[in-house]
């Protein structure tokens, strides 16, 4: 099995509150891994440790090991900016910058110092194509991204991540602000993206996890209760608590 990310015995504290307890996780390359569980179970926290976004929270303390392609991402010599280019993130609410569509997509390039217009144009086209936006938006690249409808904004955020050419894409409830039709489109897009990228998604929508993911982890109060192939977790859960959750008796 090819693991892109391996998490071992991860403890995370916000001050004195322990949000993650000895959590394990294996993220398979070019697969969709879903993290499910009720609110406050630590699934978003776990996701945010994978690109070290939790570093921004004051008073956070992390123990344990997270390996990205075999290298500890919390090692002292890890370049956090470089890590975040390899592990991109799509957020809960679409958050395009208040800039033009083009400037949104090229943001990662400009951060990296790539100012060549031709290179940028090529990346804008490829990234928007990758997020299924090119045909709709190719003639209005200078429009403000904030004028787009929500689902296009969210796919623009995907395009913005694709432009950085990450290995892993983290998605934190990417459809929670979208209607069912837009949600379906994002899900299709994710299935398309997994041929080239490794995807980890946090979702509170069990059907969504069942529809699109290859592996699922059920979390509860900071514990990884059960982790395995999605079909197994949903049809024959080993743990009673997982069974209660996926059958809708809890959460």
């Amino acid at each position: 099995m090819d693991c892109a990310i391996t998490v071992r015995d991860l403890d995370l504290y916000y001050g004195t509150f322990q949000a993650l307890k000895k959590v394990p996780l294996d993220v398979m390359r070019h697969r969709i891994t879903a993290l499910i569980g009720p609110s406050g179970c630590g699934k978003s926290t776990l996701l945010r440790t994978l690109n070290r976004m939790n570093d921004l929270v004051p008073g956070v303390r992390i123990q344990g090991q997270i390996l990205l392609e075999g290298r500890d991402i919390y090692a002292a010599d890890m370049d956090v900016c470089a890590l975040r280019k390899r592990v991109g993130m799509v957020f809960q609410r679409p958050n395009p910058f208040p800039l033009s569509i083009r400037d949104n997509v090229t943001f990662g390039l400009r951060v990296a110092g790539q100012t060549d217009r031709d290179v940028q144009d090529e990346v804008v086209e490829q990234s928007l194509k990758g997020a299924w936006l090119w045909d709709q938006l190719k003639d209005q690249l200078n429009r403000s991204a904030l004028e787009l409808p929500m689902d296009q904004q969210q796919r623009l955020c995907v395009a913005r991540v694709l432009a950085v050419e990450p290995e892993v894409i983290l998605m934190d409830e990417p459809c929670s602000a979208l209607d069912p039709i837009a949600t379906a489109r994002i899900e299709e897009l994710m299935l398309d993206l997994k041929t080239r990228y490794t995807i980890v998604i946090v979702t509170h929508n069990m059907q969504q996890a069942a529809r699109i993911s290859d592996y699922s982890g059920y979390m509860l109060l900071g514990d990884m209760v059960e982790f395995g192939a999605t079909s197994g977790v949903f049809t024959s859960p080993k743990d009673k608590r997982t069974q209660d959750y996926v059958s809708g008796r809890y959460g």
Binding site: C81, G88, M89, F91, R93, N95, P98, F107, V111, R160
Partner: protein, 285 residues
């Protein structure tokens, strides 16, 4: 009985609200009534572009004072704007919230210091320093610019800090998650998102600098002439009015009111721009 009480309170509050509006209107009407006839009588061109201000010879050219006000204001902006914006960015992005909660009110306290105290410091400390190390009379464009630059800091920092603080955290997160450094996320996203508020703070500060009188009288030197270097003594429009109103009468008095008309127009223009910039910024979001 109860209803009539409600009505009385409402009426009373309305009266108070309108009285402040009325006083603004009265001031404007009064100044215009006294000043505009003079400008028409004396000639717009002669008044605005005349080089000589010699009331005893019936010469009322305010060109040197317009240029002086411009120099002093621009100088104050050159000093105050970068400091203020940098301070606002620092407070928002690089300092813990708790520290900011102490520093920001302290900076806002600067606005409460009477302008005569600023002027006093300018006269006692800054002017002698400039005279000793840079030459000239000390009381100069430079001294006035530095003092005004400090005086407008609270305006710029306070409004800019609010504007930057209002930038959604999701923008910062998005920038950082794309591999931006802290500083890249600040100048590529945060400042752009807070742009309208920052511009408004600068324009409002410009209005303050242009209108400030006491501190400027004390440190600018008050010589009526077009400055050639920042070390020259100058007299601003506001200083001119304040210094001469006491002993002016007749034409002279009207000329000072006319100077007030010019100031009023410029300040209203600046405030108008500030308001439209802020509204424009809100509409874009």
């Amino acid at each position: 009985m109860k209803m009539s009480g409600e009505k009385a309170v409402r009426f009373g509050l309305m009266l108070l609200a309108f009285s402040s509006l009325a006083s603004l209107l009265l001031i404007a009407v009064f100044i215009l009534k006294e000043g505009v006839p003079f400008i028409i009588h004396y000639g717009v061109r002669e008044f605005l572009l005349g080089l000589n201000w010699q009331p005893h010879k019936q010469e009322y050219g305010i060109y040197p004072m317009i240029i002086s006000s411009l120099w002093v204001t621009i100088g104050a902006m050159l000093i105050g704007a970068p400091l203020g914006i940098a301070g606002a960015i620092f407070l928002n992005e690089f300092v813990p919230r708790t520290v900011m909660r102490i520093i920001k009110p302290t900076i806002e306290l600067l606005a409460g210091i009477p302008s005569v105290v600023y002027g006093f410091i300018g006269v006692m400390v800054l002017a002698p320093f400039i005279r000793a190390y840079m030459g000239g009379p000390g009381l100069s464009v430079l001294a006035a610019s530095v003092i005004l630059g400090i005086m407008i800091l609270p305006t710029i920092i306070s409004i800019s800090t609010d504007a930057i603080g209002a930038v959604p955290n999701t923008y910062r997160e998005a920038a950082l998650s794309l591999g931006a450094t802290r500083w890249q996320s600040v100048y590529m996203v945060t400042i752009k998102a807070a742009r309208s508020g920052i511009v408004a703070s600068i324009i409002l500060a410009m209005g303050r600098a242009l209108g400030e009188t006491m501190a400027v009288i004390m440190v600018a030197g008050n010589a009526v002439r077009v400055p050639h270097t920042p070390l020259d003594s100058v007299r601003t429009l506001t200083a001119n009015i304040a210094m001469e109103m006491g002993q002016a009468s007749g034409m002279h008095r009207q000329a000072l009111f006319a100077t007030g008309v010019i100031l009023l127009c410029v300040i209203m223009l600046l405030n108008g721009i500030a308001i439209s910039v802020v509204r424009g910024g809100v509409r874009r979001k």
